[in-house]
Amino acid sequence: MLKIFLAVLIISFFISAKLPRILNSPLLKQFRVLFPSWRFFESLTPIPKVYYRISRDGVSFLNWQEFQFNEGPRQWYHLFYNPMANLRLTYRVQIEQFLNDVAELDCYSENFHKSLISYQIVSTFLKQELQLRYRQDLKFYQFKIGVLEFSEHALSARPHWTESLVSPEYEV
């Protein structure tokens, strides 16, 4: 029994360690819930960030500002029921997914991002959020996605910003 247990332990450890490479197939990615990955907060990975700017008159844009998810204070009942927060978590994941998708693209073209589902989700989500926040003030908007990168070895490192994409200017 102990030998079987050790064998399963080793196999499961191996699968979990190699999981990112195993899940390169688009089909397996859709079913990746069947392959548990326990690599939480694995490393000081680059942290995705989204910045946006809006235009109220269609002529000039305001300054870039970081997109922050509007979340109210956490309440005790959110432990049991918090659907909007969990839905917003999926958008955070799609921002990271977009950056992974960009990195995996074999070639670059001016409108490469439009072919990505993750970009579609992120841009639609941003449009929806900005419309809620600015309502009639919103005429045009533009966003950019990048990452904050940290030095793994510096104790007091300031993050370095690397831009991955600047979107077109969208009219609402």
Partner: protein, 260 residues
């Protein structure tokens, strides 16, 4: 611990976890229709390589009957604590996978993985309830994966210099996109606190498998686990993890208490 009690408690805790997820998904179903970011009309491009009959079936399910899917899962959840039927567990596996599929593979990540892990363990145990070995292996699978979930998370952290220095925890709290409360964000200005907290988590996670050698410590480790998951909820808002992992604990307690 009698196996029947272990399975019963696992089913109850899993049902609680799934019930909370189901309530949330019912609300979320109202926010993923047409013209929303998660509209299926846009996502279906991702399965363009599927056979036509499958694409038609997915359109039928996700465009018009997603709430029916959630409702079906809800009914199965209510039955789960009352029966060890393999059909009920199979139904829950299928509905969970279909819901995750709707969100491009996973909805919540870790909690989805653990939910399915517990479901698969229960499924193995239900295949032949007259076979004590099969029942036992199903529970041991859950116990093993629960142990690995902490151990692997600890190993990947302790191998990273930024985690060993406390910088990773500081970066996650200060810069991450999670809704971290202001009080907790202020803690990042205390490097010693970040260092100690990082090492407490890493040591606890990396030594988790030792409960298989010294089972008397299992309740202590699980008490820390519950505090850890509650801390993650308070810091990052990840509520589902608490209940998903809780459902695996009866099997873990059973697993470590066996004579091998």
């Amino acid at each position: 611990m009698y196996v029947e009690n272990v399975i019963h408690w696992t089913q109850i805790l899993l049902a609680v976890s799934l019930l909370l997820q189901s309530f949330e998904m019912w609300a979320i179903a109202n926010w993923i229709g047409d013209s929303t970011p998660w509209a299926w009309s846009g996502l279906k491009k991702g399965v363009s390589y599927f056979p036509n009959f499958l694409k038609t079936a997915l359109d039928f399910l996700y465009l018009d009957y997603f709430k029916v899917l959630v409702l079906a899962q809800f009914v199965l959840i209510l039955i789960l604590p009352l029966s060890q039927s393999g059909l009920v567990i199979t139904g829950l596996i299928i509905t969970t996978v279909l819901i995750c599929f709707r969100f491009r593979g996973v909805f919540n990540g870790g909690s989805d993985y653990m939910t399915l892990t517990v479901l698969f363990g229960l499924f193995f145990s239900s295949l032949n309830q007259n076979d004590p070995l099969l029942v036992r292996y199903g529970l041991l699978y859950i116990a093993l994966q629960c142990t690995l979930s902490y151990f692997i998370a600890g190993i990947v952290k302790v191998r990273t210099p930024a985690w060993r220095s406390g910088l990773a925890l500081r970066a996650f709290i200060k810069h991450s996109n999670y809704p971290v409360p202001t009080t907790i964000r202020q803690w990042v200005e205390r490097p010693i606190l970040m260092f100690v907290a990082s090492w407490v988590v890493m040591l606890w996670e990396c030594t988790f498998p030792l409960i298989w050698l010294w089972p008397k410590f299992v309740f202590g480790y699980l008490a820390v686990a519950i505090l850890f998951h509650l801390g993650v909820f308070i810091s990052f808002g990840l509520n589902r993890f608490v209940f998903a992992w809780l459902a695996s604990y009866p099997a873990l307690i059973y697993g470590v208490s066996q004579n091998y």
